[in-house]
Amino acid sequence: MIAARSLSLRRGARLVVQEASLALLAGEVLALVGPNGAGKSTLLRGLAGLMRPHAGSVEWEGGPLARLGARTRARLIGYLPQQPQSHWPICVRDLVALGRLPHRATFAGESAADREAIERALDEADLKHLAGRRVDGLSAGERARAMIGRMLASEPRLLLADEPVAALDPYHQIETMEILRNRARAGAGVIVVLHDLGLAARFADRVALMREGRIAALGPPALVLDASAIANAFRVEAAMIAVEGALIPVPWRRIAERRS
């Protein structure tokens, strides 16, 4: 559905993403992993259509993404930034309802379809009991889930999530990954930035490993997330632990800086 072709993106004068190429299929979960500053968030913003490519292009189903209207794009692509914030202390339901904005006709209120999508999102993100609460009174984890709910309410065909599990406890981390997995099973595409390599290995169909602005490796988790690739990219030794037939990498100790 979405594809980056030799995409380069700039932040200020610095080239943060260089010649990144990837293509996502519908129904697929792709995990973007890599050390801090590798360009994961920037690549995600580029795929969301929020940045103008410095070189290369982003394509949506074969045509240039930039040619889609802002509203069409907003309906197709849901974007969840890293550490999303709400500048006003609105209530959770109102926040989730913002996800419906691209679907609502000018001047029209919420339609039945809007209300259903909002209810579904509240349900999926485990927010029903929080619907009337103000976001400033929520815990960090509850707020993060409300933001996920907002993206789900848009019912986009492509979900782009930047570290959606960063603020969550293990229960809700697994729950969030299951939500994304389920959306993929229902036919959506998912690209998710993760720092937890275990979650990436377990929930992603494919993993893209980024390093210094480039996609260093792209493929099934078992191939991309092996001990030597992790050592090269993250400068940590990873223990590979077999759980239910899958090898899950667990970062174990830092590799001492080589000094020349």
């Binding site: 259509g49 692509i77 914030q85």
Partner: protein, 328 residues
């Protein structure tokens, strides 16, 4: 939400009627209304239509413009301390009027003053576009506003400094204080078109402002054109606020206080706050003008002075409240 809007509309309407019925000493005389409506050519009708109606209409326009512009700017900048004066249009409109005063245009023809004010406001809008219009950055907009404000304030001070006579300086200062008294239907007509255009531009920014609650990136991903939104709000606020400032002088704090008071009642949503702020602003301006008439003795108490007197303690309370919220 709808209840709030209806109540504010009723309050504004009631205060509008009360403003029509209230004389300069603050006395309510329903007899004048009856007399004016039964005999169209009577002195009562003259008072009603030539003196009180423009005053009440201008109160409505000033309040609605300040309230709506304040709510829209607070939403755009995502800051509860934003107000219409922030983008420098108020100061520039005042400067335009002062220049008209200074060079004697005001004495030469009656509407030089508001015309000068509107020219000042328009120049300010163009200046802000030139400075901030090309980037979508909110920071640049604030900086441009500060710059335009400073320039206008400095030039106004210069005009006062070099005023040909103490009398001229006093007149300039007095005009700057802002008042609804002694304005005519011509003043209303002059301001009406830009005010309506400005309010129209601002009125339909609600959804985009709601989306902006989640930051610029998410708003853009929800299909909001941030550059267009910013342009609309600067132009809309500039037209409405510039036009009312041109005919009544500087009236502060309504644009700050009203959205802030109504925000909790409107569910904190910046989009839901727009219409209530316009109505609430109109109600507050009319109420303040009524009180001014009630409290004025031999010397007229200026509306701008009165709103500042009300607004400054409110501002202080805001600071204390936000300190309490942030914890000790």
């Amino acid at each position: 939400m709808k209840v709030l809007t209806a109540m504010l509309a009723l309050a504004a309407l009631a205060l509008f009627a009360l403003s029509l019925a209230t004389g300069p000493g603050g006395a309510v005389d329903a007899g004048l209304l009856r007399g004016a409506l039964s005999a169209p050519a009577s002195p009562e009708a003259l008072i009603l239509f030539e003196i009180r109606l423009p005053r009440a209409l201008l109160g409505l326009m000033v309040g609605a413009s300040m309230g709506l512009a304040g709510a829209a700017l607070q939403g755009l900048l995502r800051n509860p301390l934003a107000e219409p004066a922030l983008i420098g249009v108020t100061a520039s409109a005042a400067l335009g009027a002062v220049i008209a005063f200074y060079f004697g245009f005001a004495a030469a023809f009656a509407f030089a003053l508001p015309a000068g004010g509107m020219a000042g406001a328009l120049i300010a809008i163009l200046l802000i576009y030139a400075l901030a219009g090309l980037s979508a950055s909110i920071h640049t907009l604030i900086l441009a506003g500060v710059a335009v404000n400073s320039i206008a304030a400095a030039l106004t001070s210069l005009a006062l400094n070099l005023a040909p006579s103490p009398y001229a300086a006093a007149e300039i200062l007095f005009w700057l204080l802002g008042s609804l008294a002694d304005r005519s239907m011509e003043h209303v007509q002059l301001a009406l078109l830009p005010v309506l255009a400005g309010l129209g531009l601002l009125a339909f920014t609600g959804r985009a402002l709601d989306a902006l609650t989640l930051g610029e990136d998410v708003a853009a991903s929800l299909g909001v054109n941030l550059r267009l939104l910013q342009a609309r709000i600067v132009l809309g606020s500039g037209l409405a606020v510039g036009a009312v400032t041109s005919v009544v002088g500087s009236v502060g704090f309504i644009g700050l206080v009203v959205p802030h008071l109504l925000r909790p009642l409107a569910g904190q949503r910046p989009g839901g706050l727009l219409l209530p702020s316009a109505l609430g602003g109109a109600a507050l301006a009319l109420a303040a003008d009524l009180l001014v008439r009630l409290l004025s003795g031999a010397q007229e108490l200026r509306l701008g002075v009165f709103t500042a007197l009300l607004g400054a303690p409110f501002f202080l309370w805001l600071v204390l409240a936000s300190r309490r919220e942030a914890g000790p």
